[in-house]
């Protein structure tokens, strides 16, 4: 039966691989990468026209909506392992897996006996068969976590750290050595301090997650085999936070740890200073040597040293195991292939990431299309100062922009800043970061983005102590704008990390709209104006948020940049005419862009629009376009076609006698001539 099950899973996985996006990084059942292709991505966009963020509150309804085609993609929390086979049966849906930067640890409360004994924690680690957890509970869509910095962190992950493979005999041996011996032979080890049975030790897990509940039950069973009374304690999420973070009242718990960049979790989760109520040091580990290492991580001016320290930290982490990394779940995302294309899975975040939104577009055409993706909970603010949850970034991250970005491989790349240089002065513990901005970035209201905006933003976040950004800007003591598109940031830290924190975490605000906002934590813009790839259109609360692509985005694909038709060679025929005559004005119009476009061409005479024509031209195509005009008053008129102008003169027509006067004049003339001829003739006679 097990063999059959495994075979089915492998077949399913092969099907999954076949249907994968070509640039996906896929990890297979055996946790080894089967395909790792990276298609060249130009980091340009957006390519779609409109983006709808729709609220669908349950994962079940999201799945049905995807299958029915009401949404185009299913991202975080994604597809559950058990649903993969079902969803893969739909030929119009592709399933993509990607690595995540989070892991599930068994956190020990090391403030508490017997968890304050390092070997006791190690003994528990030896009791846990992590391979089985991945196999049984994740159906292979995950892998054993080997370090507190998961493999998806790339260069920051240290693969050579001590491991605790499942070994109940070794666990028993350690416990025996520590004196936790089952003296009364009732199956439960006794506490050497009291002589009584060890009390029940609980693993607090969130009650909404069946996988972790089952995992805790499995651990309970394995622990029982070596005489440890460990019990699963499913607990409501808010209560868990209160007990673990606020009161430190727990034995063990299973959280999710994981975010990027890697120095954040290290500096916050394990530093002694964070072992306070509502601090982030959940295990309560206090180790001065560790603290010193963390301080080095946070202050080193060298990237190489930073890596060395982070690797060193991982080694120490697994030796002391304040928490025991259990497993990493693979992100399983799905998207429809019949309406959109261009989804890009990203290490750490899955398919719903910045680059996906930049690259996705309607199927079968390079640009355009409407893309809809679901969120379980809608954003609560359009103000970057008020973000407090991941949902809040759904709009902020698309409407506002940052100086730097992380690419698909989590490398830092220039963005609003086309380059930068960093000067670190270890002797006085300061540094200067100079950002050089692109000169063609504009706010959504058309005004240019300059160094003044960056300076304003950094000082604004610092001076108003805006919570999400304060840790990144608090060390800034001066900002200068030596040139319009250059910003110098002075910091009283030597940390090499500062550049990346400021570069990627700070959303730049438009100074001209924010300078008079004095209550940033109350302010709620009706229409947020940023410089990001998407512009805000509308928010129907509880339903959807509509964004449209920023047609002036500085990173638009070259082909999508709207180049107005070139208008040349104006010919006016005739250039002088009598009042009432018709004058033809002809120009040559050429599409110099790389895509077929339609544009309205206006014909103005003396500044007033007289006519307009809409024309569509293929790339490189040119045509002659003619407008005509006539005037009933003499004078010189300026004719203009899309900026190209010329002059046309209308003159009064020479005076002409009426017909009867002409006839009468002719007759009179003839008569006069006749009379003259008659008299001349008579005279001669």
């Amino acid at each position: 039966m097990e063999v059959e099950k495994s075979s089915i899973q492998i077949i399913m996985l092969l099907l999954l691989i076949i249907t994968l996006n070509p640039i996906a990084t896929v990890y297979a059942y055996n946790h080894q990468p089967l395909i790792k292709e990276t298609t060249e991505y130009d980091y340009r966009g957006p390519r779609c026209d409109e983006l709808y963020i729709v609220v669908i509150t349950t994962p079940e309804a999201q799945m049905l909506a995807l299958k029915k085609g009401e949404i185009d993609v299913l991202g975080w929390p994604g597809v559950q392992p058990l649903q993969v086979a079902e969803i893969m049966a739909d030929p119009k849906i592709h399933v993509v897996t990607s690595e995540v930067t989070e892991y599930y640890p068994l956190v020990f409360n090391v403030r508490k006996y017997p968890f304050n004994i390092t070997d006791f924690r190690r003994a528990i680690a030896y009791c846990i068969d992590r391979e089985k957890i991945v196999e049984i509970l994740l159906l292979g869509y995950g892998r054993v976590a080997k370090s507190c910095i998961p493999k998806a962190h790339g260069i920051w992950h240290n693969p050579n750290v001590p491991q605790y493979e499942y070994n109940p005999a070794k666990a028993a041996e350690i416990l025996d050595r520590l004196g936790f011996i089952d003296t009364d032979h009732d199956g439960i080890r006794n506490d050497p301090k009291t002589g009584r049975n060890l009390p029940d030790m609980t693993i607090m897990i969130p009650s909404y997650d069946p996988i972790r509940i089952r995992m805790a039950q499995l651990i309970s069973g394995w622990a029982a085999e070596v005489g440890l009374p460990i019990k699963a304690a499913p607990t409501e999420h808010g209560t868990m936070i209160d007990k673990i973070v606020g009161e430190h009242d727990f034995d063990m718990c299973c959280w999710t740890y994981g975010w990027y960049p890697p120095w954040d979790p290290i500096s916050l989760l394990y530093h002694s200073s964070q072992d306070v109520p509502w601090g982030w040091n959940d295990p309560g580990i206090r180790n001065s040597t560790w603290d010193a290492l963390i301080d080095e991580i946070l202050n080193t001016p060298s990237m190489d040293e930073l890596k060395k320290y982070i690797w060193k930290f991982q080694e120490w982490h697994m030796q002391l195991i304040p928490d025991f990394p259990l497993f990493e779940r693979l992100m399983i995302d799905a998207y429809r292939t019949d309406k959109t294309e261009g989804w890009i899975p990203m290490i750490g975040t899955g398919i719903l990431n910045f680059w996906s939104y930049m690259n996705v577009h309607g199927k079968g055409k390079p640009f355009g299309g409407i893309v809809k993706y679901p969120v379980q909970r809608e954003t609560k603010t359009l103000n970057p100062c008020k973000v407090t949850s991941g949902w809040d970034y759904e709009v902020i991250d698309k409407v506002y922009d940052t100086l730097m970005k992380r690419d698909l491989n989590n490398n830092y790349i220039p963005w609003m800043a086309k380059s930068w240089d960093v000067k670190i002065f270890p002797e006085n513990k300061t540094q200067i970061i100079t950002f050089y901005l692109h000169e063609n970035i504009t706010w959504h209201d058309g005004k240019p983005v300059t160094g003044e905006d960056v300076k304003f933003t950094l000082e604004y976040y610092r001076d108003y102590e805006i919570p999400p950004y304060l840790p990144y800007v608090s060390s800034i003591y001066k900002v200068e704008v030596p040139a319009k598109y250059t910003v110098k940031v002075y910091l009283n830290t030597t940390s090499v990390i500062a550049l990346y924190n400021i570069g990627t975490m700070i959303y730049i605000l438009p100074k001209h709209l924010w300078y008079n906002v004095t209550d940033p934590m109350e302010y709620e813009p009706k229409v947020p104006i940023g410089s990001g790839p998407f512009k805000f259109v509308e928010w129907v609360k509880g339903e959807y948020i509509k964004l449209v692509y920023n047609e002036k985005y500085f990173k638009l694909p070259k082909e999508r940049i709207i180049i107005p038709f070139e208008v040349t060679n104006m010919r006016i025929t005739p250039s002088k005419a009598y009042v009432g005559d018709i004058v033809a004005v002809t120009v040559t119009i050429k599409n110099k862009g790389l895509i077929e476009r339609t544009q309205e061409i206006q014909f103005k005479v003396a500044g007033k629009i007289e006519d307009k024509k809409t024309i569509t031209l293929a790339p490189g195509q040119s045509i002659d376009l003619t407008f005509t005009t006539t005037k009933d008053k003499a004078g010189e008129y300026t004719v203009e076609i899309d900026g190209l102008s010329g002059k046309v003169t209308f003159e009064e027509r020479p005076a002409v006698l009426p017909a009867y006067q002409t006839i009468a004049g002719t007759i009179i003339s003839i008569v006069v001539v006749a009379v003259i001829v008659y008299y001349v003739a008579r005279k001669k006679r």
């Binding site: 509150t57 808010g238 936070i241 407090t388 999400p468 934590m521």
Partner: protein, 328 residues
């Protein structure tokens, strides 16, 4: 007249006391729960620990409980429901944005439940002991006892996905259609499945109540007398039995009407219906005390008001009730 005035004063006093107790319980019950809004923010690890206490102070959560309570009561007296921790806007706005959707959904489903429930209840009582009675009773009890989210999901899968007759989620299409009437139709289209779900789970209550009361009434002497007089059965049922049997049902309907503003948490969540029920669920998860307090206050006022009106109407209709308060 003075007795009736006294009755109204008594009822009003009771209603006010109930309201005050409800307000107090509303305040304390959420604070007894572990965790607070800031701790939920902490769990997302967006805010760094250095700023957690500042945010807590900003929300007034660092004050002693009794001070928070006095502040809350003082705000209520000036008609201020507070400021949402989560949505960062006045609570009244947060609730009122969703209220129309909730009243629409709950109103329609309550009306259908009442009509269907009463008709089936009368039919079951009238055909007591027959297959019709058994069928109605069984189906009513079955739907009444089924979990609402399960019925919702089943309807969603069957009519939303497999048959494709109704949308999967939301109060409207995303984006909504152009035109006023098209939008109205769109909303009704989206409302169908949640309204059916709520009707299915609640009509049984009225059926059982109506059936039980009617069966009781049908054994009364005056019914026997009416039958003995040779009145047609239909007339006995409609003119004599149903009128008297409706009184308890009216009470139940009055209470239900009070709950119209409360929304239906599970149904609204299953169908992503943007109503007060879903708001309460989200606010609970976020420990957004002001929103919870505001929502529960409005619900309480609505229910207390509905009961109060029912009491007064009863007092008018049935003089015995007026004396009941004096121990008669």
């Amino acid at each position: 007249v003075s007795e009736f005035r006294g009755y109204i004063i008594r009822r009003t006093t009771y209603a006010m006391i109930t309201l005050f107790l409800t307000i107090t319980i509303n305040f304390f019950i959420f604070r007894v729960m572990p965790g607070d809004p800031v701790s939920i923010m902490v769990s997302e690890r967006i805010l760094k620990p250095v700023v957690v206490e500042e945010v807590r102070a900003m929300f007034g959560l660092n004050l002693p409980l009794w001070q928070q309570y006095i502040l809350y009561i003082r705000n209520l007296l000036i008609g201020y429901l507070g400021y949402s921790f989560h949505w960062k806007e006045p609570v009244i706005n947060v609730i009122m944005e969703r209220m129309p959707n909730t009243i629409l959904l709950m109103g329609v489903s309550t009306i259908f439940s009442v009509i269907i429930g009463i008709v089936l209840g009368v039919l079951a009582a009238w055909k007591r002991g027959t297959k019709i009675d058994v069928t109605i009773l069984t189906s009513s009890l079955t739907f009444y006892s089924l979990p609402v989210f399960w019925i919702g999901m089943m309807l969603l899968m069957l009519f939303g996905y497999y048959l494709g007759m109704f949308p999967i989620a939301g109060t409207m299409s995303r984006p909504p259609p152009e035109g006023f009437f098209e939008r109205i139709l769109d909303i009704l289209h989206h409302m169908t499945l949640p309204a059916i779900t709520l009707t299915l789970i609640s009509y049984g209550e009225y059926t059982l109540l109506m059936r039980g009361t009617l069966l009781d009434v049908l054994t009364q002497d005056y019914i026997v007398t009416a039958r003995a007089k040779g009145l047609p059965e239909r007339r006995v049922l409609v003119r004599h039995a149903m009128r008297n049997a409706l009184l308890p049902t009216v009470t139940a309907v009055a209470i239900s009407l009070g709950f119209i503003v409360s929304g239906a948490t599970l149904t609204e969540t299953v169908f992503s219906w943007n109503g007060v029920g879903r708001l309460i669920y989200d606010a609970m998860m976020m420990r957004d005390y002001p929103v919870l307090q505001g929502a529960f206050l409005i619900i309480s006022i609505s229910v207390i008001l509905a009961n109060y009106v029912a009491d007064i109407v009863y007092g008018i209709l049935d003089p015995r009730i007026r004396y009941g308060g004096q121990g008669a």
